[in-house]
């Protein structure tokens, strides 16, 4: 018998010219809690897809229980007890909890009949085992995120998982819910099920995992028992950089007029009476969990929500945005969280992606002023240092970092004075990340743009902001500035949220 439940040996996988995985070896032992860490683009998600049989590696060997598997397809992976819980959970919102739980099992058993009675019974049993109270007849789309996650875990258990892979499982959970999840995970471990956590949140890794594997740029750069790592060591392994202790300290005259000043902003059900003031040159961070109202707050500033405010001033002038067009006209810009679905027009050119928000201003009579359009695009293309053959290139062909720079370029063209960034470096590789941070800091320092940065990535906030608010249940619950603004302090504050 092998030491490992599943073992990858020298796995490589290329997409086009990119080595997503380059000779990676790793193993997971039965019943261990293992953490796979790495920045975005490090190959974490590729390796999950190799383990679950969705991708066939170009080279290398997969062993399960010590025996080589020549072709691991999704069905074979399931038969071998590998279950993946993706970030979107892959549940069916239109079906009940019981049915979601039974579906995989029934399909696996090759059943023809949908046995509702047994489905409910199975569901009740497994949910009782997990010690949670969820109505098995509720439609899944009516459950909160933590409920959906539990259903996804229960489904994996029912499929007789021996290894459950969880992709960024804590992103949407409150500190309290994370504790509950960890209790369940330890319980699973006690039953001999191995867990592979895929995450970039260090604190959680240190708390729950026994062993750690770190990826960077498609290669394994570190592995070992968790006890042999501390936070700086993990960060160093993930980024390849020494932690930059330098923080952003702008030199702002304290009497200068705020670029953005909001008082008592509320969005029914999401944001409750929030006040905020950002001066030119400031970079203010907002931390908080998904569902804390941070995105709704940002979208309200951008005129997208049905919001009310006691006061809303841009550079001292009343400017409540009733629509996105209003917000843009007032010099507010918003880079959304999900760049692919909310930000970019993938099949369209860089040029069109950049000028989209100033098209109205590029009109000369009935027509678009194509010379001005080209001139502006080329300027921004150069100053954002976008690596692409020409502005005609479709944005879909760009890397995450370049694509994000196209987004920044779009907003700079509008002459934005208030820049709201929601997850500015999500899905961006390490090198590009530093470049984007540099651009953002330059904008604030040299151009006097007021920046509001929302991020899950606490080091990103502490490294770039001069002030950080923690948001929870629609309110700002804590504020940190200068010396008090350490990663530990903010993490503790997030952890305390219920």
């Amino acid at each position: 018998m092998s030491e490992y439940l599943i073992e990858l040996k020298n796995i490589s996988k290329r997409f086009g010219g990119v080595h997503a995985l380059d000779g990676v070896s790793m193993g997971i032992r039965p019943g261990e809690i293992h953490c796979l860490a790495g920045e975005n683009g490090s190959g974490k998600s590729t390796v999950i897809k190799v383990m679950s049989g969705i991708y066939t590696p170009d080279a290398g060997e997969i062993l399960i229980d010590g025996k080589p598997v020549d072709r691991l397809d999704p069905i074979a992976a399931v038969h071998n007890g590998v279950q993946v819980i993706y970030q979107d959970f892959s549940l069916f919102g239109n079906l009940t909890v019981a049915e979601n739980l039974a579906l995989n099992t029934y399909l696996l058993e090759g059943r023809g009949r949908m046995d509702w009675h047994r489905a409910r019974k199975m569901a009740r049993e497994v949910l009782t085992r997990l010690d949670v109270a969820i109505d098995v007849d509720a439609e899944v789309e009516t459950l909160p995120t933590s409920g959906k996650q539990i259903v996804a875990i229960a489904r994996a258990i029912l499929a007789e998982a021996r290894l459950i892979v969880m992709d960024e499982p804590t992103t949407a959970l409150t500190g309290h819910e994370v504790d509950a999840l960890f209790t369940i995970v330890r319980d699973l471990q006690a039953r001999g099920i191995a867990i592979l956590f895929v995450s970039h949140k260090m604190r959680e890794m240190l708390e729950i995992s026994e062993r750690l594997t770190v990826f960077r740029n498609g290669r394994k750069v570190a592995e070992g028992a968790m006890s042999s790592f501390d936070e700086p060591a993990i960060t160093h392994a993930m980024t390849g950089l020494e932690i930059d202790e330098e923080t952003y300290t702008p030199d702002i005259p304290s009497e200068s007029q705020p670029a953005l000043e909001v008082q008592g902003l509320s969005v029914p059900g999401h944001v409750d009476n929030v006040s905020l003031s950002v001066r030119p040159g400031e970079i203010v961070g907002i931390s908080g969990l998904i569902g804390s109202g941070r995105t709704e707050f940002a979208q309200a500033l951008f005129g997208m929500e049905n919001a009310t405010a006691e006061a809303f001033r841009i550079a001292g002038v009343d400017a409540f945005p009733h629509s996105v067009q209003d917000a843009i006209a007032h010099g507010i810009a918003y880079v959304p969280e999900d760049r692919l679905s909310e930000g970019l027009f993938l099949t369209q050119s860089i040029e069109r992606n950049m000028v989209v928000s100033i098209l109205e201003r590029l009109r000369r009579g009935l027509f678009l002023d194509r010379d001005a359009m080209r001139r502006k695009t080329e300027e921004m293309f150069a100053s954002m240092q976008i690596a692409a053959p020409s502005p005609e290139t479709a944005v879909g062909n760009l890397s995450g970092g370049n694509a994000q720079r196209v987004m920044l370029g779009r907003w700079l063209l509008t002459g934005a004075k208030v820049l709201i960034l929601n997850g500015p470096t999500v899905g961006v590789d390490v090198g590009s990340k530093a470049k984007i941070h540099h651009i953002i800091r330059d904008l604030a320092r040299k151009e006097g743009v007021a920046v509001l940065m929302i991020s899950d990535d606490v080091p990103e906030l502490t490294g770039n902001c001069n002030r950080i608010h923690v948001m929870h249940e629609g309110r700002f619950v804590a504020e940190f500035s200068s010396t008090a603004m350490t990663e530990d302090a903010i993490n503790d504050s997030l952890k305390a949220l219920k």
Partner: protein
């Protein structure tokens, strides 16, 4: 499941309100003769709607089923006339098989070439209609040439009553065929893994694949069954009106899709039920038939049907608006 029931309850409530209103305008609505003819008018369109329901739950749409129905009935009847064959069972099997084959053609193109179903079925409808009319001709097979057994089959009544004016009106036995098919589809959708796979596929194709749903089989099942029902309904229609017209059902796709949407199915897939669809079909058929009773000029019929489609879809759009946001 509660939500399904509540959707159906709403539609049923709308239906009842409309019935009461029509009854107030013209009490003849509640006459046995009218109710029997209403029931009869539900059969063919209802069977087709059940096929469309399956497709809509899977997230697709089909505008080729009227062409499939017409092709199945005309090919079958013309063959029967040519061979001088008289019978019931074999022809219905033949019509159903024709429907399955044509449905499989739709499924093949949709699955293999990943093209949106609306465009594919527009194309196949054109091919099917064109070939049938072009190769077999356009002449209608009338009652004098129609196979007797088919006519006899379609003529059967469950019960007859004598109306006040002395004419006898019957409740067609074909309503049983419709109800039986509806029951089968209901059981398939609700109590088989095939049926549940359609709901899963319609909600999220990628997750369905991850869960182990055979997506190709699901697509083929859905379009072949819809084809089968269309083919069967086509011949049934023919035997009920005692003639075979290759140009039948032109434009019927609008009515049927409207009825299914009215019955609570979501055009985005994942939602819809047999009971809801049957109520939707009944409502549409009833409103169309009742316009005459309510002394609305027949030229206005289309306008009214159009308004119903728009209103029904506006309501479902409002219901689904969260999904779009």
């Amino acid at each position: 499941m509660k939500r399904f029931q509540s959707t159906e309850a709403v539609i049923a409530l709308v239906l009842l309100t409309v019935m009461v209103l029509i009854g107030l305008v013209n009490p003849a609505f509640w006459g046995v003769a009218n109710l029997f003819s209403l029931a009869k008018a539900n059969v063919v369109i209802g069977i087709m709607a059940l096929g469309v329901l399956l497709i809509m739950i899977s997230g697709g749409i089909d505008v080729s089923f009227p062409a499939i129905s017409a092709a199945a009935l005309y090919i079958t009847v013309r063959t029967m006339v040519a061979l001088d064959y008289d019978g019931v069972l074999l022809p219905f099997i033949a019509a159903s098989v024709i429907g399955v084959l044509l449905g499989a053609f739709n499924a093949f193109i949709i699955d293999r070439f990943k093209m949106i179903p609306l465009i594919v079925t527009l194309g196949t409808a054109s091919i099917i209609r064109g070939l049938v009319l072009g190769l077999l001709g356009t002449s209608i097979v009338n009652i004098n040439k129609m196979p007797d057994a088919l006519i006899e089959f379609g003529k059967q009544d469950l019960t007859t009553v004598t109306a006040q004016n002395g004419a006898t009106v019957g409740l067609t036995a074909m309503i049983l065929v419709y109800l039986a098919i509806a029951l089968v589809i209901h059981v398939v959708l609700r109590h088989t893994m095939t049926g549940r796979s359609i709901y899963a596929y319609g909600d999220d194709m990628e997750s369905a694949r991850r869960a182990g749903v055979n997506t190709r089989r699901t697509i083929f099942f859905v379009y072949c069954t819809a084809g089968l029902l269309a083919g069967f309904a086509g011949l049934l229609h023919s035997s009920m009106i005692w003639q075979a017209n290759p140009r039948d059902f032109i434009g019927l796709e609008l009515d049927v899709i409207a009825a299914v949407v009215l019955g609570g199915a979501s055009i985005f897939g994942g939602r819809g039920s047999v009971l809801g669809t049957m109520i939707g079909v009944f409502t549409l058929v009833m409103v169309k038939n009742s316009l005459i009773l309510m002394k609305v000029d027949t030229t206005w019929q289309r306008v009214v049907v159009g308004v119903i489609i728009v209103a029904a879809t506006a309501i479902t759009a409002w219901r689904d608006r969260k999904k779009l946001a």
